[in-house]
Protein backbone atom coordinates (compact mmCIF):
# COMPACT_ATOMS: atom_id res chain seq x y z
CA UNK A 1 0.00 0.00 0.00
CA UNK A 2 1.27 3.49 -0.90
CA UNK A 3 1.15 6.19 1.72
CA UNK A 4 2.00 9.84 1.93
CA UNK A 5 4.78 9.83 4.49
CA UNK A 6 5.26 13.60 4.50
CA UNK A 7 2.76 13.76 7.33
CA UNK A 8 5.21 11.88 9.54
CA UNK A 9 7.39 14.98 9.82
CA UNK A 10 4.45 16.92 11.28
CA UNK A 11 3.92 14.16 13.82
CA UNK A 12 7.61 14.01 14.80
CA UNK A 13 7.76 17.80 15.16
CA UNK A 14 5.11 17.73 17.89
CA UNK A 15 7.21 15.79 20.36
CA UNK A 16 10.62 15.91 22.05
CA UNK A 17 13.00 13.42 20.43
CA UNK A 18 13.27 10.97 23.31
CA UNK A 19 11.97 7.49 23.94
CA UNK A 20 9.34 8.99 26.22
CA UNK A 21 7.56 10.23 23.06
CA UNK A 22 7.52 6.80 21.41
CA UNK A 23 4.04 5.69 22.42
CA UNK A 24 2.48 9.09 21.66
CA UNK A 25 4.11 9.16 18.20
CA UNK A 26 2.97 5.62 17.42
CA UNK A 27 -0.55 6.60 18.46
CA UNK A 28 -0.53 9.53 16.08
CA UNK A 29 0.77 7.33 13.26
CA UNK A 30 -1.90 4.75 14.01
CA UNK A 31 -4.54 7.49 13.88
CA UNK A 32 -3.23 8.91 10.61
CA UNK A 33 -2.86 5.63 8.68
CA UNK A 34 -5.22 3.37 10.70
CA UNK A 35 -2.21 1.10 11.31
CA UNK A 36 1.56 1.25 11.72
CA UNK A 37 3.18 0.99 8.28
CA UNK A 38 6.64 -0.59 8.28
CA UNK A 39 8.33 2.50 6.80
CA UNK A 40 6.81 4.68 9.52
CA UNK A 41 8.31 2.46 12.21
CA UNK A 42 11.73 2.68 10.58
CA UNK A 43 11.55 6.46 10.42
CA UNK A 44 10.39 6.63 14.05
CA UNK A 45 13.35 4.53 15.08
CA UNK A 46 15.74 6.88 13.22
CA UNK A 47 14.22 10.10 14.49
CA UNK A 48 14.04 9.05 18.14
CA UNK A 49 17.32 7.14 17.99
CA UNK A 50 15.60 4.13 19.52
CA UNK A 51 16.50 0.67 18.09
CA UNK A 52 13.94 -0.65 15.59
CA UNK A 53 13.64 -3.81 17.69
CA UNK A 54 12.42 -1.71 20.62
CA UNK A 55 9.96 0.21 18.43
CA UNK A 56 8.69 -3.14 17.18
CA UNK A 57 8.32 -4.60 20.67
CA UNK A 58 6.31 -1.59 21.84
CA UNK A 59 4.18 -1.76 18.66
CA UNK A 60 3.28 -5.36 19.32
CA UNK A 61 2.84 -5.16 23.10
CA UNK A 62 0.00 -2.65 23.19
CA UNK A 63 -3.47 -3.50 21.94
CA UNK A 64 -4.07 -0.09 20.35
CA UNK A 65 -1.44 -0.71 17.71
CA UNK A 66 -1.95 -2.75 14.60
CA UNK A 67 0.64 -3.77 12.04
CA UNK A 68 -1.93 -4.53 9.37
CA UNK A 69 -4.18 -2.09 7.57
CA UNK A 70 -7.69 -1.63 8.90
CA UNK A 71 -10.97 -0.92 7.18
CA UNK A 72 -12.54 2.51 6.71
CA UNK A 73 -14.66 2.05 9.80
CA UNK A 74 -13.59 0.12 12.86
CA UNK A 75 -16.47 -1.58 14.65
CA UNK A 76 -15.64 -2.22 18.29
CA UNK A 77 -17.75 -4.54 20.37
CA UNK A 78 -17.28 -3.73 24.02
CA UNK A 79 -16.81 -6.88 26.07
CA UNK A 80 -16.49 -5.26 29.47
CA UNK A 81 -18.16 -7.15 32.31
CA UNK A 82 -21.39 -5.18 32.15
CA UNK A 83 -21.63 -5.65 28.38
CA UNK A 84 -20.70 -9.31 28.69
CA UNK A 85 -23.60 -10.14 30.98
CA UNK A 86 -25.95 -8.04 28.89
CA UNK A 87 -25.27 -9.96 25.71
CA UNK A 88 -22.03 -8.76 24.06
CA UNK A 89 -21.31 -12.32 22.86
CA UNK A 90 -24.58 -12.42 20.95
CA UNK A 91 -23.83 -9.07 19.30
CA UNK A 92 -20.40 -10.35 18.32
CA UNK A 93 -21.97 -13.47 16.84
CA UNK A 94 -24.48 -11.38 14.90
CA UNK A 95 -21.90 -8.92 13.60
CA UNK A 96 -19.50 -11.68 12.60
CA UNK A 97 -22.27 -13.41 10.77
CA UNK A 98 -23.54 -10.29 9.08
CA UNK A 99 -20.14 -9.00 7.95
CA UNK A 100 -18.94 -12.55 7.20
CA UNK A 101 -15.68 -11.99 9.09
CA UNK A 102 -14.38 -12.96 12.51
CA UNK A 103 -13.43 -10.46 15.20
CA UNK A 104 -10.00 -9.04 14.38
CA UNK A 105 -10.58 -9.28 10.62
CA UNK A 106 -11.40 -6.75 7.91
CA UNK A 107 -14.02 -7.12 5.19
CA UNK A 108 -12.70 -7.72 1.68
CA UNK A 109 -13.93 -4.35 0.44
CA UNK A 110 -11.87 -2.72 3.26
CA UNK A 111 -15.03 -1.03 4.60
CA UNK A 112 -15.21 -2.55 8.10
CA UNK A 113 -12.82 -3.98 10.65
CA UNK A 114 -14.45 -5.87 13.51
CA UNK A 115 -12.78 -5.78 16.91
CA UNK A 116 -13.59 -6.81 20.44
CA UNK A 117 -12.29 -4.45 23.12
CA UNK A 118 -12.02 -4.85 26.86
CA UNK A 119 -14.10 -1.92 28.11
CA UNK A 120 -14.91 1.43 26.56
CA UNK A 121 -16.10 2.86 29.88
CA UNK A 122 -19.74 3.35 28.96
CA UNK A 123 -20.99 0.54 31.19
CA UNK A 124 -24.26 2.22 32.16
CA UNK A 125 -25.57 1.79 28.62
CA UNK A 126 -24.41 -1.78 28.09
CA UNK A 127 -24.16 -3.52 25.69
CA UNK A 128 -22.14 -1.01 23.69
CA UNK A 129 -20.90 -1.11 20.11
CA UNK A 130 -18.63 1.68 18.82
CA UNK A 131 -18.75 2.30 15.08
CA UNK A 132 -16.02 4.68 13.96
CA UNK A 133 -16.10 7.17 16.82
CA UNK A 134 -19.80 6.93 17.49
CA UNK A 135 -20.97 5.09 20.61
CA UNK A 136 -24.17 3.06 20.39
CA UNK A 137 -25.70 2.01 23.69
CA UNK A 138 -28.23 -0.65 24.73
CA UNK A 139 -27.75 -2.29 21.35
CA UNK A 140 -30.41 -4.82 20.45
CA UNK A 141 -30.13 -7.67 17.97
CA UNK A 142 -32.64 -5.93 15.73
CA UNK A 143 -30.34 -2.89 15.41
CA UNK A 144 -27.17 -4.73 14.49
CA UNK A 145 -27.65 -4.64 10.73
CA UNK A 146 -28.35 -0.91 10.74
CA UNK A 147 -25.11 -0.22 12.61
CA UNK A 148 -22.97 -1.52 9.80
CA UNK A 149 -24.98 -0.43 6.80
CA UNK A 150 -22.37 0.26 4.13
CA UNK A 151 -22.49 3.88 3.05
Amino acid sequence: MKHDFNKLTDIFDKYPKTQESLIAILQDIQKEYQYLPCEALEQTSDVLDVPLSKVFSVSTFYNSFSLTAKGEKVVKICTGTACHIRGAKLLQDQLENHLAIKAGETTEDMKFTLEVVACVGACAMAPVVVVGDKYHGSVKVSRVKKLVKAK
Binding site: F61, Y62, T81, A82, I85, G121, V141
Partner: protein, 466 residues
Protein backbone atom coordinates in the same frame (compact mmCIF):
# COMPACT_ATOMS: atom_id res chain seq x y z
CA UNK B 1 -11.55 26.96 34.75
CA UNK B 2 -13.64 29.96 35.80
CA UNK B 3 -16.38 27.59 36.92
CA UNK B 4 -13.91 25.57 38.97
CA UNK B 5 -12.57 28.67 40.68
CA UNK B 6 -16.18 29.78 41.23
CA UNK B 7 -16.71 26.72 43.45
CA UNK B 8 -13.62 27.37 45.59
CA UNK B 9 -11.25 25.74 43.09
CA UNK B 10 -7.53 26.27 43.73
CA UNK B 11 -8.32 27.68 47.20
CA UNK B 12 -6.75 24.57 48.69
CA UNK B 13 -3.61 25.09 46.60
CA UNK B 14 -3.34 28.68 47.77
CA UNK B 15 -3.82 27.52 51.35
CA UNK B 16 -1.03 24.92 51.24
CA UNK B 17 1.40 27.17 49.38
CA UNK B 18 0.97 30.15 51.69
CA UNK B 19 0.01 28.70 55.03
CA UNK B 20 1.18 25.09 55.31
CA UNK B 21 4.54 23.31 55.25
CA UNK B 22 4.80 20.09 53.20
CA UNK B 23 4.85 18.10 56.45
CA UNK B 24 1.67 19.73 57.63
CA UNK B 25 -0.02 18.84 54.35
CA UNK B 26 1.09 15.23 54.70
CA UNK B 27 -0.10 15.06 58.32
CA UNK B 28 -3.47 16.48 57.33
CA UNK B 29 -3.91 13.82 54.62
CA UNK B 30 -2.75 11.02 56.95
CA UNK B 31 -5.11 12.30 59.62
CA UNK B 32 -8.03 12.36 57.16
CA UNK B 33 -7.63 8.60 56.69
CA UNK B 34 -7.78 8.94 52.88
CA UNK B 35 -6.99 5.55 51.34
CA UNK B 36 -6.00 4.77 47.76
CA UNK B 37 -9.14 4.65 45.63
CA UNK B 38 -7.52 2.56 42.91
CA UNK B 39 -8.24 -0.57 44.86
CA UNK B 40 -5.32 -1.25 47.19
CA UNK B 41 -6.53 1.02 49.94
CA UNK B 42 -3.09 2.12 51.13
CA UNK B 43 -3.01 5.37 53.13
CA UNK B 44 -2.37 8.18 50.66
CA UNK B 45 -0.68 10.39 53.24
CA UNK B 46 1.71 7.65 54.36
CA UNK B 47 2.68 7.04 50.75
CA UNK B 48 3.52 10.72 50.38
CA UNK B 49 5.53 10.67 53.58
CA UNK B 50 7.69 7.75 52.45
CA UNK B 51 8.29 9.45 49.12
CA UNK B 52 9.17 12.80 50.63
CA UNK B 53 11.64 11.32 53.07
CA UNK B 54 13.74 9.71 50.35
CA UNK B 55 16.59 11.93 49.32
CA UNK B 56 16.86 12.08 45.57
CA UNK B 57 17.59 14.44 42.75
CA UNK B 58 14.01 14.36 41.52
CA UNK B 59 10.62 13.27 42.77
CA UNK B 60 7.67 12.55 40.53
CA UNK B 61 3.91 12.60 40.99
CA UNK B 62 1.84 10.45 38.66
CA UNK B 63 -1.92 10.30 38.42
CA UNK B 64 -3.14 6.84 37.47
CA UNK B 65 -5.98 7.26 35.01
CA UNK B 66 -5.53 3.86 33.43
CA UNK B 67 -8.93 2.66 34.50
CA UNK B 68 -8.66 -0.82 33.11
CA UNK B 69 -11.20 -2.75 35.18
CA UNK B 70 -13.99 -3.74 32.82
CA UNK B 71 -17.29 -2.50 34.22
CA UNK B 72 -15.91 0.64 35.88
CA UNK B 73 -15.87 4.15 34.51
CA UNK B 74 -15.78 6.63 37.39
CA UNK B 75 -12.27 7.86 36.67
CA UNK B 76 -13.27 8.63 33.11
CA UNK B 77 -16.12 10.83 34.28
CA UNK B 78 -13.91 12.57 36.86
CA UNK B 79 -11.21 13.33 34.28
CA UNK B 80 -13.78 14.50 31.76
CA UNK B 81 -15.98 16.42 34.19
CA UNK B 82 -13.58 17.74 36.82
CA UNK B 83 -10.10 17.90 35.25
CA UNK B 84 -9.08 20.85 37.43
CA UNK B 85 -9.87 18.88 40.59
CA UNK B 86 -7.39 16.23 39.44
CA UNK B 87 -4.75 18.86 38.62
CA UNK B 88 -5.17 20.64 41.95
CA UNK B 89 -4.85 17.32 43.80
CA UNK B 90 -1.64 16.60 41.89
CA UNK B 91 -0.24 20.06 42.63
CA UNK B 92 -0.85 19.62 46.35
CA UNK B 93 0.74 16.16 46.24
CA UNK B 94 3.73 17.60 44.37
CA UNK B 95 4.15 20.37 46.93
CA UNK B 96 3.98 17.83 49.76
CA UNK B 97 6.60 15.45 48.35
CA UNK B 98 8.78 18.04 46.62
CA UNK B 99 8.13 17.04 43.02
CA UNK B 100 8.65 19.37 40.08
CA UNK B 101 7.26 17.15 37.37
CA UNK B 102 4.06 15.20 37.13
CA UNK B 103 2.35 12.92 34.66
CA UNK B 104 -1.23 11.90 34.12
CA UNK B 105 -1.47 8.47 32.57
CA UNK B 106 -4.77 8.20 30.70
CA UNK B 107 -6.24 5.17 28.99
CA UNK B 108 -6.23 5.26 25.24
CA UNK B 109 -9.94 4.47 25.25
CA UNK B 110 -10.75 7.85 26.84
CA UNK B 111 -10.04 10.46 24.15
CA UNK B 112 -12.42 13.03 25.64
CA UNK B 113 -10.64 12.84 29.00
CA UNK B 114 -7.36 13.62 27.23
CA UNK B 115 -8.89 16.62 25.45
CA UNK B 116 -10.34 18.05 28.67
CA UNK B 117 -7.16 17.50 30.66
CA UNK B 118 -5.05 19.07 27.91
CA UNK B 119 -7.25 22.15 27.97
CA UNK B 120 -7.17 22.34 31.76
CA UNK B 121 -3.36 22.09 31.80
CA UNK B 122 -3.07 24.81 29.16
CA UNK B 123 -5.41 27.10 31.11
CA UNK B 124 -3.35 26.57 34.26
CA UNK B 125 -0.09 27.28 32.45
CA UNK B 126 -1.52 30.49 31.01
CA UNK B 127 -2.75 31.73 34.37
CA UNK B 128 0.37 30.81 36.29
CA UNK B 129 -1.04 27.86 38.22
CA UNK B 130 1.42 25.53 36.53
CA UNK B 131 5.01 26.44 35.67
CA UNK B 132 7.63 28.39 37.58
CA UNK B 133 6.97 30.14 40.90
CA UNK B 134 3.32 29.26 41.24
CA UNK B 135 1.21 31.94 43.00
CA UNK B 136 4.34 33.95 43.74
CA UNK B 137 5.99 31.22 45.81
CA UNK B 138 9.11 29.22 45.00
CA UNK B 139 7.01 26.14 44.18
CA UNK B 140 7.34 25.10 40.52
CA UNK B 141 5.50 22.24 38.89
CA UNK B 142 4.58 21.03 35.42
CA UNK B 143 2.24 18.28 34.25
CA UNK B 144 2.42 16.17 31.11
CA UNK B 145 -0.13 13.73 29.77
CA UNK B 146 0.97 10.22 28.90
CA UNK B 147 -1.56 8.26 26.90
CA UNK B 148 -1.84 4.54 27.50
CA UNK B 149 -2.12 2.22 24.56
CA UNK B 150 -4.53 -0.47 25.60
CA UNK B 151 -2.80 -2.73 28.10
CA UNK B 152 -4.59 -3.64 31.32
CA UNK B 153 -1.34 -4.54 33.08
CA UNK B 154 -0.24 -0.88 32.79
CA UNK B 155 -2.55 -0.06 35.69
CA UNK B 156 0.09 -1.80 37.82
CA UNK B 157 2.52 0.77 39.19
CA UNK B 158 5.84 -0.46 37.83
CA UNK B 159 4.35 -1.35 34.44
CA UNK B 160 2.69 2.05 34.23
CA UNK B 161 5.97 3.82 34.84
CA UNK B 162 7.66 1.78 32.13
CA UNK B 163 4.88 2.80 29.81
CA UNK B 164 5.24 6.49 30.71
CA UNK B 165 8.90 6.18 29.75
CA UNK B 166 7.87 4.85 26.34
CA UNK B 167 8.70 1.23 26.94
CA UNK B 168 6.88 -2.08 27.01
CA UNK B 169 4.68 -2.15 30.11
CA UNK B 170 6.04 -5.15 31.95
CA UNK B 171 5.90 -5.06 35.74
CA UNK B 172 8.83 -5.91 37.95
CA UNK B 173 8.97 -7.72 41.29
CA UNK B 174 7.15 -5.81 44.00
CA UNK B 175 9.85 -5.88 46.67
CA UNK B 176 11.22 -2.68 45.13
CA UNK B 177 8.39 -0.22 45.75
CA UNK B 178 7.78 2.45 43.16
CA UNK B 179 7.47 5.07 45.86
CA UNK B 180 11.16 4.38 46.52
CA UNK B 181 12.33 3.69 42.95
CA UNK B 182 9.68 4.60 40.43
CA UNK B 183 9.77 6.55 37.21
CA UNK B 184 13.36 6.71 35.90
CA UNK B 185 14.32 5.05 39.19
CA UNK B 186 13.41 8.15 41.19
CA UNK B 187 10.96 8.17 44.12
CA UNK B 188 7.46 8.49 42.68
CA UNK B 189 4.04 8.98 44.16
CA UNK B 190 1.39 7.23 42.10
CA UNK B 191 -2.18 8.02 43.08
CA UNK B 192 -5.46 7.12 41.49
CA UNK B 193 -7.64 9.84 39.91
CA UNK B 194 -10.33 9.58 42.56
CA UNK B 195 -7.79 9.71 45.41
CA UNK B 196 -6.28 12.93 44.10
CA UNK B 197 -9.60 14.59 43.48
CA UNK B 198 -10.43 14.11 47.17
CA UNK B 199 -7.32 16.00 48.27
CA UNK B 200 -8.37 19.63 47.64
CA UNK B 201 -11.63 19.15 49.54
CA UNK B 202 -9.80 17.62 52.51
CA UNK B 203 -7.38 20.55 52.65
CA UNK B 204 -10.20 23.06 52.36
CA UNK B 205 -12.64 21.54 54.82
CA UNK B 206 -10.18 19.78 57.11
CA UNK B 207 -9.36 16.20 57.99
CA UNK B 208 -11.93 16.11 60.80
CA UNK B 209 -14.76 17.00 58.46
CA UNK B 210 -13.63 14.30 56.03
CA UNK B 211 -13.39 11.72 58.79
CA UNK B 212 -16.96 12.43 59.84
CA UNK B 213 -18.08 10.71 56.62
CA UNK B 214 -17.73 6.96 56.17
CA UNK B 215 -16.44 4.42 58.66
CA UNK B 216 -13.56 4.54 61.09
CA UNK B 217 -11.08 2.72 58.88
CA UNK B 218 -12.50 3.72 55.50
CA UNK B 219 -13.19 7.41 55.61
CA UNK B 220 -14.97 9.62 53.12
CA UNK B 221 -17.06 8.68 50.13
CA UNK B 222 -16.49 6.34 47.23
CA UNK B 223 -17.76 6.45 43.69
CA UNK B 224 -19.11 3.21 42.30
CA UNK B 225 -20.12 2.26 38.83
CA UNK B 226 -23.37 0.44 39.44
CA UNK B 227 -24.08 -1.57 36.29
CA UNK B 228 -25.32 -4.90 34.99
CA UNK B 229 -28.76 -6.32 35.64
CA UNK B 230 -29.95 -3.50 37.84
CA UNK B 231 -32.77 -1.07 37.06
CA UNK B 232 -30.87 2.22 37.51
CA UNK B 233 -27.40 1.99 36.06
CA UNK B 234 -24.78 4.70 36.43
CA UNK B 235 -22.27 6.26 38.75
CA UNK B 236 -23.05 6.75 42.41
CA UNK B 237 -21.13 8.49 45.17
CA UNK B 238 -21.91 7.02 48.57
CA UNK B 239 -20.41 7.21 52.06
CA UNK B 240 -18.17 4.26 52.92
CA UNK B 241 -19.91 1.69 55.08
CA UNK B 242 -23.23 1.72 53.21
CA UNK B 243 -24.54 -1.80 52.66
CA UNK B 244 -24.69 -3.58 49.33
CA UNK B 245 -28.44 -3.96 49.78
CA UNK B 246 -28.91 -0.21 50.10
CA UNK B 247 -26.84 0.35 46.98
CA UNK B 248 -28.56 -2.25 44.83
CA UNK B 249 -32.16 -1.96 46.03
CA UNK B 250 -32.52 1.65 47.26
CA UNK B 251 -30.26 3.45 44.84
CA UNK B 252 -30.24 0.92 42.03
CA UNK B 253 -33.98 0.34 42.23
CA UNK B 254 -33.61 -3.44 42.38
CA UNK B 255 -33.04 -6.04 39.71
CA UNK B 256 -34.08 -5.55 36.12
CA UNK B 257 -37.51 -7.09 35.37
CA UNK B 258 -37.79 -8.02 39.09
CA UNK B 259 -35.77 -11.17 38.54
CA UNK B 260 -34.05 -12.84 41.50
CA UNK B 261 -30.65 -11.43 42.53
CA UNK B 262 -27.75 -13.81 42.17
CA UNK B 263 -24.49 -12.00 42.87
CA UNK B 264 -22.68 -8.72 42.72
CA UNK B 265 -19.17 -8.59 41.34
CA UNK B 266 -16.78 -6.02 42.77
CA UNK B 267 -13.11 -5.33 42.28
CA UNK B 268 -12.91 -6.12 38.56
CA UNK B 269 -10.73 -9.04 37.44
CA UNK B 270 -8.97 -9.01 40.82
CA UNK B 271 -12.17 -9.11 42.81
CA UNK B 272 -14.90 -11.61 43.39
CA UNK B 273 -18.61 -12.34 43.37
CA UNK B 274 -20.61 -11.72 46.53
CA UNK B 275 -23.78 -13.81 47.06
CA UNK B 276 -27.19 -12.75 48.34
CA UNK B 277 -26.50 -13.91 51.90
CA UNK B 278 -23.92 -11.15 52.22
CA UNK B 279 -25.98 -8.26 50.89
CA UNK B 280 -25.98 -6.58 54.29
CA UNK B 281 -22.23 -6.34 54.24
CA UNK B 282 -20.97 -2.79 54.76
CA UNK B 283 -18.99 -1.61 51.76
CA UNK B 284 -15.50 -0.63 52.87
CA UNK B 285 -11.97 -1.73 52.04
CA UNK B 286 -11.61 -4.32 54.77
CA UNK B 287 -15.07 -5.97 54.73
CA UNK B 288 -14.89 -6.68 51.02
CA UNK B 289 -11.40 -8.17 51.27
CA UNK B 290 -12.56 -10.36 54.14
CA UNK B 291 -15.20 -12.08 52.01
CA UNK B 292 -12.75 -12.82 49.20
CA UNK B 293 -13.52 -9.90 46.94
CA UNK B 294 -12.07 -6.41 47.06
CA UNK B 295 -13.03 -2.78 46.74
CA UNK B 296 -11.05 -2.41 43.58
CA UNK B 297 -11.55 0.74 41.64
CA UNK B 298 -15.32 0.67 42.18
CA UNK B 299 -16.99 -1.43 39.54
CA UNK B 300 -20.15 -3.06 40.86
CA UNK B 301 -21.72 -5.44 38.41
CA UNK B 302 -25.05 -6.87 39.45
CA UNK B 303 -26.04 -10.33 38.20
CA UNK B 304 -29.41 -12.05 38.14
CA UNK B 305 -30.48 -15.68 37.69
CA UNK B 306 -29.83 -15.53 33.95
CA UNK B 307 -26.13 -14.88 34.50
CA UNK B 308 -24.06 -18.06 34.61
CA UNK B 309 -21.48 -17.83 37.35
CA UNK B 310 -19.12 -20.34 35.72
CA UNK B 311 -19.30 -18.32 32.52
CA UNK B 312 -18.46 -15.15 34.49
CA UNK B 313 -15.39 -16.82 36.02
CA UNK B 314 -14.41 -18.02 32.54
CA UNK B 315 -14.93 -14.49 31.21
CA UNK B 316 -12.53 -12.96 33.74
CA UNK B 317 -9.92 -15.64 33.21
CA UNK B 318 -10.12 -15.13 29.46
CA UNK B 319 -9.61 -11.40 30.01
CA UNK B 320 -6.60 -12.00 32.25
CA UNK B 321 -5.02 -14.55 29.90
CA UNK B 322 -5.30 -11.95 27.14
CA UNK B 323 -3.88 -9.16 29.32
CA UNK B 324 -1.13 -11.09 31.12
CA UNK B 325 2.12 -9.55 29.90
CA UNK B 326 3.76 -12.96 29.80
CA UNK B 327 6.84 -12.11 31.80
CA UNK B 328 6.38 -14.59 34.65
CA UNK B 329 5.35 -18.21 34.24
CA UNK B 330 2.78 -18.68 37.04
CA UNK B 331 0.59 -15.95 35.59
CA UNK B 332 1.15 -16.67 31.91
CA UNK B 333 0.71 -20.44 32.08
CA UNK B 334 -1.30 -20.78 35.28
CA UNK B 335 -4.13 -18.49 34.23
CA UNK B 336 -4.12 -20.14 30.79
CA UNK B 337 -4.63 -23.59 32.31
CA UNK B 338 -7.33 -22.31 34.68
CA UNK B 339 -9.16 -20.88 31.68
CA UNK B 340 -8.82 -24.20 29.85
CA UNK B 341 -10.34 -26.05 32.81
CA UNK B 342 -13.25 -23.61 32.92
CA UNK B 343 -13.82 -24.03 29.19
CA UNK B 344 -13.89 -27.76 29.74
CA UNK B 345 -16.53 -27.41 32.46
CA UNK B 346 -18.66 -25.00 30.41
CA UNK B 347 -18.65 -27.40 27.48
CA UNK B 348 -19.97 -30.20 29.65
CA UNK B 349 -16.77 -32.23 29.76
CA UNK B 350 -15.82 -31.30 33.31
CA UNK B 351 -14.98 -33.80 36.00
CA UNK B 352 -15.29 -33.36 39.75
CA UNK B 353 -11.50 -33.61 40.11
CA UNK B 354 -11.20 -30.44 38.02
CA UNK B 355 -12.48 -28.38 40.94
CA UNK B 356 -9.67 -29.56 43.16
CA UNK B 357 -7.17 -29.03 40.35
CA UNK B 358 -8.36 -25.46 39.91
CA UNK B 359 -8.10 -24.77 43.63
CA UNK B 360 -4.55 -26.08 43.80
CA UNK B 361 -3.42 -24.26 40.69
CA UNK B 362 -5.06 -21.02 41.84
CA UNK B 363 -3.05 -21.13 45.03
CA UNK B 364 0.19 -21.55 43.10
CA UNK B 365 -0.63 -18.68 40.76
CA UNK B 366 -1.40 -16.44 43.72
CA UNK B 367 1.86 -17.26 45.47
CA UNK B 368 4.14 -17.34 42.45
CA UNK B 369 3.11 -14.40 40.30
CA UNK B 370 5.21 -11.29 40.03
CA UNK B 371 2.59 -8.56 40.16
CA UNK B 372 -0.97 -7.92 41.24
CA UNK B 373 -2.48 -9.12 38.00
CA UNK B 374 -1.43 -12.72 38.64
CA UNK B 375 -1.52 -12.57 42.42
CA UNK B 376 -5.19 -11.67 42.45
CA UNK B 377 -6.08 -13.21 39.09
CA UNK B 378 -7.68 -16.37 40.48
CA UNK B 379 -9.95 -14.31 42.81
CA UNK B 380 -13.02 -14.36 40.53
CA UNK B 381 -12.68 -18.12 40.25
CA UNK B 382 -11.98 -18.75 43.94
CA UNK B 383 -14.85 -16.58 45.17
CA UNK B 384 -17.37 -18.16 42.82
CA UNK B 385 -16.17 -21.64 43.80
CA UNK B 386 -16.64 -20.69 47.42
CA UNK B 387 -20.15 -19.26 47.15
CA UNK B 388 -21.58 -20.92 44.05
CA UNK B 389 -20.14 -24.43 44.08
CA UNK B 390 -23.58 -25.88 43.31
CA UNK B 391 -23.53 -24.20 39.94
CA UNK B 392 -20.16 -25.72 39.10
CA UNK B 393 -21.47 -29.12 40.17
CA UNK B 394 -24.57 -28.67 38.00
CA UNK B 395 -22.28 -28.10 35.00
CA UNK B 396 -20.07 -31.07 35.85
CA UNK B 397 -22.46 -33.73 37.15
CA UNK B 398 -25.83 -32.87 35.63
CA UNK B 399 -24.33 -31.38 32.46
CA UNK B 400 -26.72 -28.47 32.84
CA UNK B 401 -26.25 -24.72 32.87
CA UNK B 402 -28.96 -23.51 35.29
CA UNK B 403 -28.75 -19.94 34.00
CA UNK B 404 -29.18 -21.03 30.39
CA UNK B 405 -25.97 -19.49 29.11
CA UNK B 406 -23.36 -22.13 28.22
CA UNK B 407 -24.22 -23.16 24.62
CA UNK B 408 -23.08 -26.78 24.88
CA UNK B 409 -25.38 -27.43 27.83
CA UNK B 410 -28.64 -25.88 26.68
CA UNK B 411 -31.29 -26.20 23.99
CA UNK B 412 -33.67 -23.65 22.55
CA UNK B 413 -37.25 -24.65 21.83
CA UNK B 414 -40.25 -22.73 20.53
CA UNK B 415 -43.37 -23.13 22.65
CA UNK B 416 -46.95 -23.51 21.45
CA UNK B 417 -47.79 -19.93 22.39
CA UNK B 418 -45.71 -18.74 19.41
CA UNK B 419 -47.84 -16.25 17.48
CA UNK B 420 -46.02 -16.80 14.23
CA UNK B 421 -44.82 -13.20 14.00
CA UNK B 422 -41.68 -14.25 12.08
CA UNK B 423 -39.40 -11.86 14.02
CA UNK B 424 -36.98 -14.62 14.95
CA UNK B 425 -36.49 -15.96 11.43
CA UNK B 426 -34.30 -13.13 10.08
CA UNK B 427 -32.65 -12.70 13.49
CA UNK B 428 -31.26 -16.22 13.29
CA UNK B 429 -28.04 -16.05 11.34
CA UNK B 430 -27.96 -19.78 10.71
CA UNK B 431 -31.29 -20.47 8.97
CA UNK B 432 -32.23 -22.68 11.87
CA UNK B 433 -35.81 -21.44 12.25
CA UNK B 434 -38.62 -22.33 9.90
CA UNK B 435 -42.21 -21.25 10.01
CA UNK B 436 -45.06 -19.49 8.27
CA UNK B 437 -46.95 -16.39 9.30
CA UNK B 438 -49.36 -17.03 12.19
CA UNK B 439 -48.11 -20.58 12.56
CA UNK B 440 -45.92 -21.93 15.35
CA UNK B 441 -42.25 -21.81 14.25
CA UNK B 442 -39.79 -24.66 14.69
CA UNK B 443 -36.04 -24.68 15.44
CA UNK B 444 -33.96 -27.22 13.53
CA UNK B 445 -31.68 -28.34 16.34
CA UNK B 446 -28.87 -29.51 14.02
CA UNK B 447 -28.47 -26.00 12.66
CA UNK B 448 -28.97 -24.15 15.95
CA UNK B 449 -25.75 -22.69 17.39
CA UNK B 450 -27.52 -21.58 20.58
CA UNK B 451 -26.51 -17.99 20.05
CA UNK B 452 -29.70 -16.75 21.70
CA UNK B 453 -30.71 -14.27 18.99
CA UNK B 454 -34.24 -15.70 18.72
CA UNK B 455 -34.68 -15.47 22.47
CA UNK B 456 -33.55 -11.84 22.40
CA UNK B 457 -36.02 -10.76 19.73
CA UNK B 458 -39.08 -12.75 20.81
CA UNK B 459 -41.72 -10.48 22.32
CA UNK B 460 -44.06 -13.25 23.45
CA UNK B 461 -41.84 -15.34 25.75
CA UNK B 462 -42.30 -18.20 23.32
CA UNK B 463 -38.72 -19.40 23.38
CA UNK B 464 -37.73 -21.82 26.10
CA UNK B 465 -34.11 -22.24 27.13
CA UNK B 466 -33.44 -25.45 29.01
Amino acid sequence: MKEYIGVDGYQALAKVLHKMTPDEVIDEIINSGLRGRGGGGFSAGKKWKICKNIKAEKHYVICNGDEGDPGAFMDRSIMEGDPHGVLEGMMIAAYAVGAKEGYIYVRDEYPLAVTHLEKAILDCERSGLLGENILGTDFSFSIKIARGAGAFVCGESSALMKSVAGEVGEPRATYIRSVVKGLYDEPTVLNNVETLVNVPTIIRKGADWYKSIGTKKSTGTKVFSLVGKVRNTGLIEVPMGITLREIIYDIGGGILDDRPFKAVQTGGPSGGCIPESMLDLPVDFDSLTEVGSMMGSGGMIVMDDTTCIVDVAKYFLEFLVEESCGKCTPCREGLYQLHKLLEKICSGKGEMSDIEKMERLSENVMIGSLCGLGKSGPNPLMSTLKYFKDEYIAHIKDKKCPAGVCPELITYKILDNCTGCMACIPACGYDAIEGKKKEVHVITQDKCTKCGACYAVCNFDSILVS
